[in-house]
C-alpha cells in the first residue's frame, strides 16, 4: 500500500461545548479520491478548515507529504501543494475570472513581490491561467468579473483557482452544491479526468457523484468517523445505514 500523502491523527476541535471534530484519523493516498460524507452539521467543513489551516485543531496532528503541517499557516500549506475549494464560493468579486486564476498562478510562481511587471502582459501568467479556466470549462467567461458569474460558474472558478496553485492534493468542500443534475454530471467528468493527476478529499452530498467517483468513503457523524471503506462496504455498513443513508438506501 502506498504511503499516505495526507494523514490526520487524532484530530479534535470543539466550539464551546460542541465537539465538532471528535478524534478523527484518516488518510489520503496518492491517486485516490477519498469521499467524506455525513449529515449536515456532522463537522465536514470544520474538518476541511483544519486540514487547510483556516482553523487550528485543539488536539491531534496533520501530516502532508511527510511533513508535520499542524501549525503551518494556510498560505504555506498551499505552497506545499495542499489546495482547497470552499463550500460557499470565495472568489475576488471585482477581478475577472481570469485574474482570479492568475493570482493563484503568480502565487505558485512566487512573483508576488514584483512591483513593476504588468500582469496583463505576462504570457506565462495569462496562458497558465487561461489553461486552468479552460479545464474547468470557463474559457468563454475569462473576462467576466467574478461577481457577475452564475453560481455554477463560480463553483467552477473555485476549481480552476485550486488547479492553478499546482496542487499535490485537493480538498473539495461540496463542489456540486447547487449545480443541478447537469452541472453535477459535468463536474463528475472533470474530477474523474483529474484523478490520475491529483488525489482528492471530496466532501459531497450528491450520492450519485460520490459512488461514481470515490475509491474510499468515510462517514462522519457528530464529528466522529463511524466507518471507512469502499463504496460497497459503506452501502452495506449497518451503522451507516441507520445513521445516515436511511432505510431506503
Amino acid at each position: 500500500m502506498a504511503e499516505p500523502l495526507l494523514q490526520l491523527r487524532g484530530l479534535k476541535k470543539s466550539f464551546g461545548a460542541l465537539l465538532a471534530t471528535d478524534n478523527v484519523s484518516l488518510t489520503l493516498r496518492p491517486g485516490e479520491i477519498h469521499a467524506l460524507i455525513g449529515p449536515n452539521g456532522a463537522g465536514k467543513t470544520t474538518l476541511i478548515h483544519q486540514i487547510a489551516g483556516t482553523l487550528q485543531p485543539d488536539e491531534g496532528e496533520l501530516r502532508f507529504a511527510g511533513q508535520d503541517i499542524t501549525s503551518l499557516h494556510m498560505a504555506d500549506r498551499v505552497q506545499l501543494g495542499l489546495a482547497r475549494t470552499f463550500q460557499v464560493s470565495s472568489v475576488l468579486p471585482e477581478f475577472s475570472a481570469l485574474r482570479n486564476v492568475m493570482l493563484a498562478v503568480q502565487a505558485r510562481q512566487g512573483t508576488s513581490f514584483r512591483f513593476f511587471a504588468d500582469v496583463r502582459r505576462d504570457a506565462r501568467l495569462t496562458d497558465a491561467a487561461a489553461e486552468c479556466l479552460a479545464r474547468a470549462g470557463l474559457d468563454g467567461r475569462a473576462a467576466v468579473p467574478a461577481a457577475e458569474l452564475s453560481h455554477g460558474e463560480r463553483r467552477r472558478l473555485e476549481i480552476a483557482i485550486a488547479l492553478a496553485t499546482g496542487p499535490r492534493a485537493l480538498l473539495l468542500d461540496e463542489p456540486m452544491a447547487g449545480l443541478g443534475p447537469e452541472g453535477s454530471k459535468d463536474l463528475v467528468v472533470l474530477l474523474n479526468a483529474l484523478r490520475s493527476e491529483v488525489p482528492m478529499l471530496l466532501v459531497e452530498h450528491d450520492m450519485d457523484a460520490v459512488f461514481a467517483l470515490a475509491d474510499r468513503i468515510s462517514v462522519l457523524v457528530y464529528g466522529r468517523v463511524i466507518a471507512t471503506g469502499t463504496a460497497d462496504e459503506i452501502r452495506r455498513h449497518p451503522e451507516v445505514r441507520a445513521a445516515y443513508l436511511g432505510d431506503d438506501a
Binding site: A52, G53, T54, H73, M74, A75, D76, V78, Q79, A83, R84, F86, S90, V91, L92, P93, E94, F95, S96, L98, R99, M102, L103, A104, Q106, A107, R108, T111, S112, F113, R114, F115, F116, A117, D118, V119, R120, L125, A143, P145, I161, A164, T165
Partner: protein, 323 residues
Amino acid sequence: MARETVFNGLMILVLAAIPAAALLFEEPFYLTLATRLAILALAAVGLNVALGLGGLVSFGHAAFFGIGGYVAGILAVHAFNMEPLLPGLPGTKSMPVIWVVSMLLAALIALPMGAISLRTSGVYFIMITLAFAQMIYYFAISWPAYGGEDGLSFYVRNGFPGVNTLQPLPFLLVCYGLLAAALLFFWRLQHSPFGAALQAARQNDVRLAAVGIRPFKIRLTAFALSAAITGVAGALFADLNRFVSPSMLSWHLSGELIVLIILGGVGRLFGPVAGATVYVFLEYGLGGITERWQFFLGLILLGVVLFARGGIIGLFAGRPRHG
C-alpha cells in the same frame, strides 16, 4: 479611449493651467496654490496605496507626512548651523538626500506601526493607526530641541541640483515632477503582481491565503510603501513653508488625506489629484469668503458618500474595470 483616461488628461490640463494662469495674470499666489495642491495630492497618492489598493483605512498617515517634514527641517537647520546631527553625520540642504531619508525613515517607522496595527482590522485598525500618530505628535510637541510646540523654522529652502528652488515656479515644477513619479509608480503597482495581491487582500483575504500568499506580508509592505510616499510629500511641504511644526503630525491632516481620496475616488490613479484639486479650490475660493469653508467641504463629502461612492472619477468614468 476609456473615460477615465480622458478624465486623467483633463486633470493634467488643470495642473498645467494653474501656473499658466499665474504667469498670465501675474498672480504668483496661484503658484503657491498649485504647489500646495501637488504636495497634498502626492501625500494622498501615498495613502491611496494603502487605502485605495489595500483597503487599509489608515488614520495615522499624518505621522509619515510629519516625519518627512521634520527630516527636511532638522537636516536643513543642522546644515545651516554647520552642526553635525551626530558626530560625523552632517545635516544637508540637498532635496534628493532629504527625500531619500524621509522615505526610509517613514517606511522604517511604518513597519512596526503596521506590524502591530495589521493584527486588527476595521475600526480597530483605524483607531490604532490614529493612536500611533498621536504618540508621535505628542513626542514632537514635547521635544524642545527642535522647537517643540512652536515648530522649527529654516530660512532658506533646500536645494535641488540645477534648479533654483527659491523661485516659486521651479519649486512647483520639482513638486509636479515628484507627483508625476508617484503617479507612475502607483500606475505600475496597480497592474503588477504585488498590486494584484494587494487588491485581493482588500476584496477577500481568505481567498488570498488560499492561493498561497500571506495577506499580512503583502499589507505590511504596502503600508511601508504608502508611508514612504507620504513622507516625501511632508518633506516638500516643509520646504514650501520653510517651517515644520507638530500640526503636520496632527490627526486633522490624516483625516484630510482620507477626505481627498474619498472625494476623488478611492483606489483610482488620479483620485488623489482630483480630490486635492477640489480641496484646494474650495479652500481658496470659499476660504476668502468664510472661515467656515470646511462646512461646504463636509456637505460635498456627504453628497459623495451618499450618492457617488466612486467619488468624482466614479461619477465621470463609472466603476473601475480589472481586465
